[in-house]
Amino acid sequence: MNLSLRNKILLLFLGLMILSSVATISSVLLATDASVERQAQDKLDIGKRVFEQLMQNRSQQLFGSAEVLTADFGFKGAVAQGDKGTILSVLENHGARIDADLMMLASLEGELIARTDASAKSFPFVHLLPQAEADGGLMTVVMLDGKAYQLVLLQVTAPRPIAWAAMGFLLDQPLANQLKSLTNLEVSYSGIGRSNVGFVISTMHKEVHANILDDKMQSIGQGNNKDKLNLKRMLFGEDEYLSLYVSLIETSKYKVNAFLSTSLSKARNDFSPLKIQILLVSFISLIASVIGAFLISSNVTRPIKNLVSAAQRISSGDYSVDLPLVKNLKDEVNVLAGSFNVMQKGIAEREEKILHQAYHDTLTSLPNRMLATKEMKKLIRACHDNESCFVLMSIDINRFKQINDTFGYQIGDGLLKAFAHRLVAVNNGENFCARLGADEFLVLIQSEDHLKFRPLVESSVQQLSESYFINDFEVTVSLRVGVAIFPLHGDQTGQLLRRIEIALNDAKQKKREIQFYEEGSDAKHLNRIRLINDLKQAITNNHLVMYYQPKVDLHLRKVTQAEALIRWFHKELGFISPEEFIGLAEQAGLMPALTRWVLKTVVEELREWLKNGVDIAMAVNLSAYDLAHDDLPDYVDELLAEYGVPATHLILEVTESAVIEEPEQAMNVLHRFKKSGIKLAIDDYGTGYSSLGQLKSMPVDELKIDKSFVLKLEQDKDDQVIVRSTIEMGHNIGMTVVAEGVETKAAWDLLEAYGCDKLQGYYISKPQSPSDFLQWYSSYQVDE
């Protein structure tokens, strides 16, 4: 059964109460019934004694009267002399005195001498005479002519017995009535003689007489029961009686019973007010206990219900309502309610924290990008409604990474906090400020006129650009700020965010402090995204090709190496410069795939060339990303092994900056390449910030002077000094030196004069496709 706790408790209570009520009522009913019966029996028992005493009294009265009669001298004389007239008159006189119903005189032999009633001429008690003679007289009950009498037989003596006197009292209705009034019982007499002629005298209703007679007959039929005190239960119509039989006489000819009855129904009726009271009390207590059980169960379950609804409320995210508590009550539910409140508070606090963290930046406590997006949506709606506009500023701390590197992370973080703090202060806490990324912040300034924005932005930027003092360090910052205006530069969150990003990138590229979004920038940006997509396709579909630019060994005076350069001919956009798409690849995380494609392509080509007797080592450029991950050396080893190309024929070129980003890791990777027998070269040497100490520690074989120093070598004296000293330095630390960007005979000569080891550039050859290269290679001769 799917019952609520309250109903379960209620049901249990009710069940117990009904059970106990039923038990009480039934035990009371049984007890009263038993009591009624017992009382009835007691009443009958007492009544019987009274009845018997009364009967005896009556007999003795009769007996006394008979004695008086038989002792009367005149009567004796009359009897002795056979004076019938006198005898009869004496009998009548005596009979009348004691109100006897039967007076007779008979001879000793049983011949009738006289009787007061003239109904028969014989003496009806002849059969009793032997007994009476033996006992000196007789007191008994007899049945005569369908009536029952209490009878006394006494001898008349003068002084020897001369006659029998018989005197009788009729057992009649007045007697029954009298006995009833004395015993408080219903009194009945029943008699039955031969041929079932019987009589009933009863104080009860006439209708029951037949029953009494029937029952009596039934009793006769049951034989001579020695125990003549029979208790019987009889139903007379609606009334139930308990009756007690007293056998007065039982002979072979007749039988006379007295029959005392008391009404059980009546006795029960005496109890009925009590029963009604008990029923009423039970009913009331049942009702009371139902109410009580209801209250108790409600009392118990109400707090639980509260807990349930509280739990539901909490699960739906409402922590505002506390459960009501009863002070100082150690009740479990109360304690639970208390725990609920504590839990609810805890959840609320934690959720708030989580929400805050979800929407805020932990370092600066400024809203994050998510909240910024939300806020922008709100602002867009608001501005739509009141036709106002707002400006979005994306602020980037220029070269923040370098600041971090220079001063350490602590200062870096301090700067970010201070910057955030100032950002809020500058905006008077009114404008929405957020931190979008590491060193990128966003400000939303609402205004009705977008022309006012530029001075606003400029003043903000100026204030934000002032020096910061972090832990006693003065930190100067330059900012790059991308600005877009709603609705001028877009009316959707994503669009606006992209456009300030584009503006910011523009600012960075153009090295400007503030860059408002310019129409069309977005298209370029979208173009980049498309290119990234295409590049992915190009790598997998071999739409990229490798071009090779030869290096000439000045000592051997022949081409010994070639630099492999990647080329992308876009189907629609045509040639795309590596500077452009390598940057994209780096941003899009395509570098590993690109590098591997390049290496594989080059090594494959190299095998072909070596097979065809073209003994040339190939140089491949690695990016900073390639050095930052240490899985590339293994790949290269496997590749070389697979294609059977000696490691000496592969040269890997890295830029100084690629090493600088993560020097230890990069150095580790370089050493592993070196171990495999691969030659390493520093590319674009001279443009980075690497120290000579670092350079010295690198396992590098070759130094490639950046072409910016070589392109105008013959005209620029400074370049000549730099190149010359670099070559010398390279040689001094045991490296071969390669010059890039050799475009003229003059540069060649100068470099040759400086002792440069290898040359590369358009003067020798531009990068060429493999087939062109091989063709060119077969015919190329170094001029003497």
């Binding site: 004389g77 000196g136 002084p159 020897r160």
Partner: protein, 210 residues
């Protein structure tokens, strides 16, 4: 053996004085015990001389004394009262009906019993008092003492016997000599002592005889 010797004694007694005719009889009851107050008479002859001295039927301790008095026809009997209470002696018997109303000491006159027969005496005050006067029409009669033995002179052919406790014996019974002889001169009577009326109990008492 005892019985034999007794018979011998009786025989010697009866045979010894052959010249003097005498007869001795003993009255016994149904159980052989000697019977007192039996009137044994010889139903022969008539009364020629009446004793002029009145016979005495006394009343002592509410009993007639003697209980049985035998007198010849025509004799006077006085009823002195030896008790210190009054008695009311009466008779409803056919031979002599009389009553002496409440009296003390000696009544004024003796009662003369002119007619032979049995007169039952009662006291109207004391029902338990019953006395009998045997008015004998014959001259020879005796009332048996405790031993039940009576003897007569002569040679009677018959003997008359009466006792108040014999039922239906309103008149004396005549027994022939031969029959008497056959019975060893013993007269056996079946006696029924009168019931004590006071003994009567109510039938209803049975419920209380617990």
């Amino acid at each position: 053996m005892v019985k034999l010797s007794l018979i011998k004694i009786i025989l010697s007694l009866t045979l010894m004085p052959l010249t003097v005719f005498a007869i001795e009889v003993q009255v016994i009851d149904q159980e052989g015990r000697p019977v007192q107050n039996a009137v044994v008479s010889i139903p022969e002859g008539g009364i020629e001389i009446v004793n002029s001295v009145p016979a005495i039927m006394d009343q002592v301790k509410r009993q007639f004394k003697p209980i049985v008095l035998a007198v010849e026809k025509g004799r006077e009997v006085v009823f002195p009262n030896s008790d210190n209470i009054r008695h009311h002696v009466y008779s409803f018997s056919e031979p002599k009906k009389f009553q002496i109303k409440l009296y003390k000491d000696q009544p004024k006159k003796p009662i003369t019993f002119e007619q032979g027969g049995i007169v039952v005496l009662g006291c109207n005050i004391h029902d338990s008092m019953i006395g009998y006067i045997f008015v004998s029409p014959w001259p020879s009669f005796q009332v048996s003492p405790e031993s039940g033995r009576v003897s007569f002179e002569g040679n009677p052919k018959k003997i008359a016997i009466w006792h108040p406790w014999t039922t239906g014996l309103e008149k004396p019974e005549i027994i022939s000599f031969s029959e008497l002889k056959k019975n060893d001169f013993k007269i056996q009577l079946s006696l029924t002592p009168p019931k004590q009326i006071k003994k009567l109990k109510s039938k209803f008492n049975k419920y209380y005889d617990k």
